[in-house]
C-alpha cells in the first residue's frame, strides 16, 4: 500500500525517519549512517567556528549538503528563549534563508527536559518572524495543543529523556497528543533500539527523530539501516490496523475435522 507523504509545513517527505549528526566517530561514519537511514531531514547544531582550525578541515555541510538533505538546525544547549531565537536567526543566515528549525529550550542539564515557558516564548517570536517550527516538547497534551494553535508545524514530544535510550515510556500520552493534533507528531528523543522506533510509529506518530540510538550503537551504519526498517514496519503496522487484544487463546487452526478425537 502506498503511504501518503509526510507533510511538514510547506515541505513534503517520503522518509519518516529524521536523524541527527552528533556523536559520530568521524564525518565518514556520519555520512554512511545517514545514507543507510534513508533520512531526508537531518538535524545539525549551531556552534562557534573554531578560530584557527585548519581551513581545509572537512565541514559537516559538505557531508550533508543542503541541496540533498533538508537541514534542520536545532537549538540544542539553549536554556532560555533569547538564545534559542538567536540560534535560529543565525541558522537562517547560515543556510541562506532556510526557515525550518527544530526548537528545543531545555530546563536543566540533568534531564534536558524541555522548559515549556521559554519554549512557548521562543516559538511565538520565531513564528512571528516567519520561521517554521518543529518543536521539542514534553508529552503534555495541553501544551502540545497550545504549540499547535500558535502555529508550530510539527509537535515533537519526547519518548524518554534525550540520549537515554530508554524507549517510549509514555505511549498513552503520546497517543493522546497524536489524536488531538492536526500537524505531524514526531517522537523526538528516547529511542534506544529498533523496536522503540516501531512502537512510536505503531502509536500513529508521523515520524521519529533520533541521534544517539544510531550514533552510539556498536555498529552505527547497521543500526541506521535497522531504524529505517523499524520506522517503515511500524508505519505499515499502524496503517494495517492491529488485531484486537484478547484475554484468552483463540486457535489459529480449525477446531473441527479432528481425526484423533
Amino acid at each position: 500500500m502506498e503511504d501518503t507523504p509526510l507533510i511538514i509545513g510547506s515541505r513534503r517527505f517520503n522518509s519518516r525517519l529524521l536523524v541527527g549528526t552528533g556523536k559520530y566517530k568521524d564525518l565518514t561514519e556520519t555520512d554512511l549512517a545517514i545514507q543507510a537511514s534513508g533520512a531526508e531531514i537531518v538535524t545539525v547544531a549551531i556552534r562557534r567556528v573554531n578560530i584557527g582550525q585548519h581551513p581545509d578541515q572537512p565541514n559537516l555541510l559538505s557531508v550533508v549538503p543542503p541541496e540533498k538533505y533538508t537541514i534542520l538546525p536545532n537549538t540544542a544547549g539553549c536554556f532560555d528563549a533569547n538564545s534559542a531565537v538567536r540560534t535560529c536567526m543565525l541558522a537562517r543566515e547560515l543556510l541562506d534563508g532556510h526557515n525550518l528549525v527544530k526548537l528545543e529550550v531545555l530546563g536543566d542539564e540533568k534531564t534536558l527536559y524541555p522548559n515549556i515557558t521559554e519554549t512557548l516564548k521562543a516559538a511565538r517570536t520565531l513564528i512571528d518572524d516567519g520561521f517554521e517550527i518543529m518543536v521539542y516538547t514534553s508529552d503534555d497534551p495541553i501544551v502540545a495543543q497550545e504549540l499547535e494553535s500558535m502555529g508550530c508545524v510539527a509537535i515533537m514530544p519526547l519518548g524518554s529523556l534525550i540520549g537515554s535510550g530508554l524507549g517510549i515510556l509514555n505511549p498513552h500520552t503520546i497517543s493522546i497528543i497524536k489524536e488531538n493534533a492536526k500537524v505531524p507528531v514526531l517522537v523526538d528523543a528516547g529511542v534506544g533500539t529498533a523496536s522503540d522506533a516501531a512502537i512510536a510509529m505503531e502509536l500513529g506518530c508521523d515520524g521519529v527523530l533520533m541521534n544517539t540510538a544510531i550514533a552510539a550503537a556498536q555498529n552505527p551504519v547497521l543500526m541506521a539501516s535497522a531504524m529505517k526498517k523499524a520506522v517503515e514496519a511500524g508505519r505499515e503496522a499502524f496503517l494495517a490496523g492491529r488485531m484486537p487484544r484478547k484475554r484468552m487463546a483463540n486457535a489459529s487452526s480449525p477446531e473441527t475435522g479432528y481425526f484423533f478425537k
Binding site: I46, V49, P55, N59, I71, E93, L94, L209, N211
Partner: protein
C-alpha cells in the same frame, strides 16, 4: 583595536567584518556572523565597520541531534 571574537579577547587591525572574515580564511565557506547580538548578512559584511569592544560571533553547523 580590541574586540571579542567568539568569546575570546582579540586585537585586530581589520576595520570591517569582511576583512576579518578574509583574515580568518573563512571567505567562501559556510558561516554566519553576529555583531553585538545582531545578525549581519553576508552581503553587508564589507560595509559593517568593526568598533572597539565589539562582540563578534562567527558560527557554523556542527554535528547535533
Amino acid at each position: 583595536m580590541h574586540i571579542y571574537l567568539n568569546g575570546e579577547s582579540k586585537d585586530t587591525s581589520c576595520t570591517n567584518l569582511l576583512a576579518l572574515i578574509q583574515e580568518l580564511e573563512l571567505e567562501g565557506k559556510r558561516f554566519a556572523v553576529e555583531k553585538n547580538e545582531m545578525i549581519i548578512s553576508k552581503s553587508k559584511l564589507a560595509q559593517t565597520p568593526i568598533c572597539a569592544e565589539d562582540q563578534i560571533e562567527i558560527i557554523h553547523a556542527v554535528g547535533g541531534g
